[in-house]
């Protein structure tokens, strides 16, 4: 949801009139979000200047003319007041009866699906799923922006049914939904142009208990627990949070495929004596939980390419450092520098984890290696982040960025690509044929990892 609209609504609620200055490319999204905020007539002043194309070159004639006209009009006189929306069906109310195809057509027409056929959410199926929790179906886990609808135990169960979850998947899905509602995750920013998708990382005994795939093709649809739970989570973003490209609430430029839930190969992790990803996220040993993060991009798999006499883990990692670290993240790092938050994730295959462990190279060594080896210049950060107001010196002085970003005022000084080494997550998963790594990244503070224990 646009930040300007959020602030505007908060101020209007306090009884102070506002007008939001919005670019025409965001106008439709802003109007939809104003409606979600129950303020469909929220005044806006819409400018035509293309800031992404023209930089700071505002059209002064427009600014002094039509834009100022709209600002004045929005702040003075009488404003329109549209009628409130009509009543909506109650949770247990039957909204349609029909064949499998008819139900899917009904859901498609209302933008309630994801393009795949859904399992019809009948009362019997939803109730069967609810038997796997002792929580009240009406328990509200959160109010999800952009549409500000209630995320309840009931709505999670409905989503689970639609996605093809087994009833016993519900506790995992409830923990995931709690993550979705955590303000740290920032679901309100889900509809941004770079577009990010939820990625659920599963930890603990539940991996074996529910049959998650942590091995070959761990990140591909296939195993029901991984696939259906990942899909159900995505459906909640549509049907409870209300993000839909068709309505304009989701401005996703390209989007990404739905992520299946990623389970860690904890057996390998234990064998080599490392802490599991879940334990690093605060779960106790032997405790099951989930971590939710947003992903805007995924690197290709990288692998060892040098076998010479000086080969080591560090030379093995050079493709990951180069492609994911310096390439992919080297471009996106300005967003982390603007917001002072960024949480990339590295997935390594069990064979590579064992190789690392044999050389005494642990997860923290991997994080530190990426941090040390992936550098850019302050000048590049400032140039790439100009349009979103980057100011490295100001952020360092405010404690948003570490002091290392401002060791001198030389524009060509070297600065880290990753904001902090301990913000790089490491998960062991995948096939064991070759030693592979892969990097994934979130969008600065959006989709920051959030962990919940499975109850």
């Amino acid at each position: 949801m646009p930040a300007v609209l959020r602030a505007s609504a908060a101020i209007e609620r306090a009884g102070i009139p506002t007008v939001a200055v919005i670019g025409r490319v965001w106008q439709r999204q802003a109007e939809v979000n104003a409606s979600y905020l129950n303020l469909p007539d929220l005044p806006m002043a819409v400018f035509q200047t293309d800031l992404m194309r023209d930089g700071a070159a505002w059209d002064e004639e427009e600014l002094h003319g039509t834009l100022s006209d709209q600002i004045v009009s929005g702040l003075t006189g009488t404003v329109a007041s549209s009628a409130a929306a009509g009543t909506e069906p109650a949770p247990r109310e039957i909204v349609a009866t029909g064949t499998f195809d008819e139900i899917n057509q009904f859901f498609d027409e209302r933008l309630w699906g994801d393009g795949y056929p859904v399992v019809p959410p009948t009362l019997a199926r939803v109730d069967a799923m609810l038997e796997h929790t002792d929580r009240d179906p009406d328990e509200v886990l959160g109010i999800l922006p952009a549409e500000l609808r209630q995320l309840t135990v009931w709505s999670v169960a409905v989503s689970g049914v639609m996605a093809g979850c087994k009833p016993e998947h519900l506790p995992v899905l409830l923990a995931a939904a709690e993550c979705l509602a955590d303000p740290e995750y920032r679901i309100e920013d889900f509809g941004t142009a770079p577009s990010w998708e939820p990625l659920l990382i599963v930890s603990g005994p539940v991996i074996d208990h529910l049959g998650f795939n942590a091995g070959a093709a761990a990140m591909r649809p296939g195993r029901r627990a991984n696939t259906a739970i990942g899909r159900a989570l995505r459906l909640l973003c549509t049907n409870v949070a209300g993000f839909r490209t068709e309505t304009g609430s989701d401005l996703a430029g390209f989007g990404n495929p739905i992520n299946v839930a990623l389970a860690e190969d904890e057996q390998t992790v234990r064998e080599i004596g490392w802490a599991t990803y879940g334990e690093e996220r605060g779960l106790a040993a032997g405790e099951s939980g989930v971590t939710l993060m947003g992903v805007i991009g995924t690197s290709p798999p990288t692998l060892q390419t040098y076998y010479g006499p000086d080969a080591s883990i560090r030379t093995d990692l050079e493709p990951l450092v180069d492609v994911f670290g310096r390439g992919m993240c080297g471009w996106w790092t300005f967003t982390g520098a603007v917001f002072g938050r960024w949480h990339p994730l590295v997935v390594i295959s069990p064979g590579f984890a064992r190789k690392m462990a044999a050389e005494g190279f642990g997860k923290d060594d991997l994080r530190q290696h990426l941090y040390d080896e992936c550098r850019t210049t302050a000048a590049k950060l400032e140039r790439d982040g100009e349009f979103i107001g980057i100011d490295i010196a100001k952020n360092v002085k405010a404690g948003i960025l570490p002091a290392t970003y401002l060791e001198s005022d030389d524009p060509q000084r070297s600065v880290p690509i990753f904001v902090r080494p301990d913000w790089i997550g490491v998960v062991v998963a995948g096939g064991d044929v070759v030693s592979l790594q892969r990097g994934l990244m979130n969008n600065h503070q959006q989709g920051a990892p959030v962990t919940r224990r499975i109850r």
Partner: protein
């Protein structure tokens, strides 16, 4: 054999009742205090001074309180800044607010 029929529920979450309305507007900005609130993006530092000048041209008695007093509504501490805004605006006796820029 006839195909099975299913009776289904909505997957859409419930929307809590919310009777919010827009704030009342003054008839004119003359004699009013207008605040600028910025998300520190999309070159607002270029736009706000021009808008400020234009409002002063149109309303000689308008008083503008510049964005630097209100923090960044889309920065690392966005939630805290936005939550504090209503009280801060009241404390400064603000009558109307121009927010920008962009999204």
């Amino acid at each position: 054999m006839s195909e099975q029929h299913y009776s289904v529920v909505t997957p859409v979450g419930q929307k809590p009742r919310d009777d919010v309305t827009l704030a009342a507007r003054p008839e004119t900005l003359d004699g009013k205090r207008v605040a600028e609130v910025w998300d520190y993006m999309f070159y607002g530092d270029s736009a706000f001074p021009l808008l400020r000048d234009e409002l002063r041209q149109r309303y000689p008695d308008v008083e503008i309180v510049e964005y630097s007093h209100f923090g960044n509504i889309h920065g690392p501490d966005e939630n805290e800044v936005v939550a504090a805004l209503p009280d801060e605006l009241r404390r400064r006796h603000i009558d109307a607010v121009v927010l920008g820029i962009g999204n």
